[in-house]
Symmetry: C3
Subunit: 217 residues, 3 copies
């Protein structure tokens, strides 16, 4: 049996993550001045897309089909953005809880995969997909370049949270590992935003450098 | 047991809906002067995409895997558009049956979810997805802005049909509810097209209006 | 029982196909100078996307969840492209093995569907999806027009391989049919590339030609 843990007991973290991602979905509908139904639609697909893909791939029942409260949380989040609105400064403020949500979902996704007896590599992939697929679906549906294409430390932060959780869980248990994984991913994402960190970008590889040298020589 | 109803008995309505959406998919391939195979490909993903997503999410067997006649109907529809062609006026004429198909699929999708013991909120979502996902997949694959982004009463019409059906079904039975839901959704869509109805678009919410007033003050 | 065949025995062909498609995914990340994590992400979704969609639709366990070696193969392929790099000439050279992978995956996908007791039409569709969906997902996620929109003999080659395999398999057995189907699809794709073959493009259909004649008359 998978033990009851910080991850499985207080659904409040899952709900908070869904609400937050849903809010970023509704904000994606704002620049085109959509109506409230479209705001809610984007909120729902963004807030629930990652978990939905994870559950499909794991062959598990879709989380919001089994627990429709998730639908309500995501829809309410979209409605609130439409009613209350936000300032551009709010979008920047949201990057902070978005970093927390990204990291939390990476841990939650990896944990669910392990609970369903997936191997370590599969669990890491499920963590990354849970954390990132909602945003990717949001961007594709909004006909915008995906967050993947922005060259920020984003997938990398989710990957870090998932790898740390999956590696630490057999050693220190699910509760401690979830905290360590969450902190590692969120800290990396926040530090990267504050300090402008990026991974090295593709520079042509060995062949590319060779050909540049050949030209220079 | 879910009773045999107008919805489950005469598959002819489902086939007609698939053929119609498939035709709109083939038409999306026309401006780029694609070949017949691409026409058929777009016809199939558009005609069957919504029902496929619904069945995946419900954990049900995919409808066209169990009944390949659906594949034949969608492919034939795409082939006919390629052979016969259409005039721009036909595209406008098709908005009428498209409105009927949208509403019918919203009812059919919600009904299938209820039959599989989903709750009311989930059934409404499945109705909306069945009605709209094929068109969204068509637009994304054709690298066009999705119909979602057009600010028309489109998702709203599907949502209306599904909500009316799910609400009325316990009161008046599946047959009567399916007619009422279908008529409500189709009438809303058609009226919106004829009269240029739109829902209010996002105007910045409470915060946005405040900041506009602040600037004016 | 489905017999052990050329297709099911030597997974080496499947791994080679995954590695190859994964490489094309990583190459899609190159022009934007992404980091290594993004290269690997694109490699994985491109290399495994087609088989994943097929397994979801067939209700079968996802192949890389059951056999994580596939993840390793796809990720390694993306990593190698980042480290070694490639020249534009390599992209053209890759069109050859890409043609082989396309055809092989069409046969493998159709075969898996038949093994799971799908009908002939469904098996052909699964072959085409296995061969093409990875590339479509890659292009959509990279915010590029999909390969579908290029008017090349691409889906048609996958379709040919799948139809030949499914038609020949009851007559000459899975082994011989897989070779014939594979050769037919790959030869068509390669000949089309070398000789610039295309299917006739949409010319307005019967109605379109009529209206052109009416204008000319």
């Amino acid at each position: 049996m998978h033990p009851i843990s910080l991850l499985t007991l207080p659904n409040v973290f899952s709900y908070a993550g869904v609400a937050l991602f849903a809010a970023t979905g509704a904000m994606a509908a704002a620049p085109r001045k959509h109506d409230v139904v479209t705001f809610i639609f984007f909120a729902v697909i963004t807030g629930l897309g990652g978990g939905t893909l994870r559950d499909l791939l794991l062959g598990a029942p879709i989380v919001w089909v089994a627990e429709p409260t998730y639908l309500l949380v995501a829809a309410t989040s979209g409605l609130l953005i439409w009613v209350i609105g936000y300032r551009e400064s709010a979008r920047r403020l949201l990057l902070w809880p978005d970093a927390l949500g990204l990291s939390a979902f990476a841990v939650i996704g990896a944990d669910k995969a392990l609970a369903l007896h997936a191997g370590a590599a599969v669990a890491v992939v499920m963590g990354v997909l849970t954390a990132t697929a909602g945003g990717i679906i949001r961007d594709i549906t909004a006909h915008e370049p995906s967050v993947l294409l922005s060259r920020e430390i984003y997938i990398t932060a989710a990957l870090t949270a998932a790898i740390v959780y999956v590696s630490a869980q057999p050693l220190i248990g699910a509760d401690a590992a979830s905290i360590v994984g969450f902190v590692a991913g969120a800290a990396l994402r926040i530090a990267a935003m504050r300090l402008g960190w990026r991974l090295p970008s593709y520079a042509g590889g060995v062949l590319g450098r060779t050909s540049v040298e050949a030209e220079a020589g």
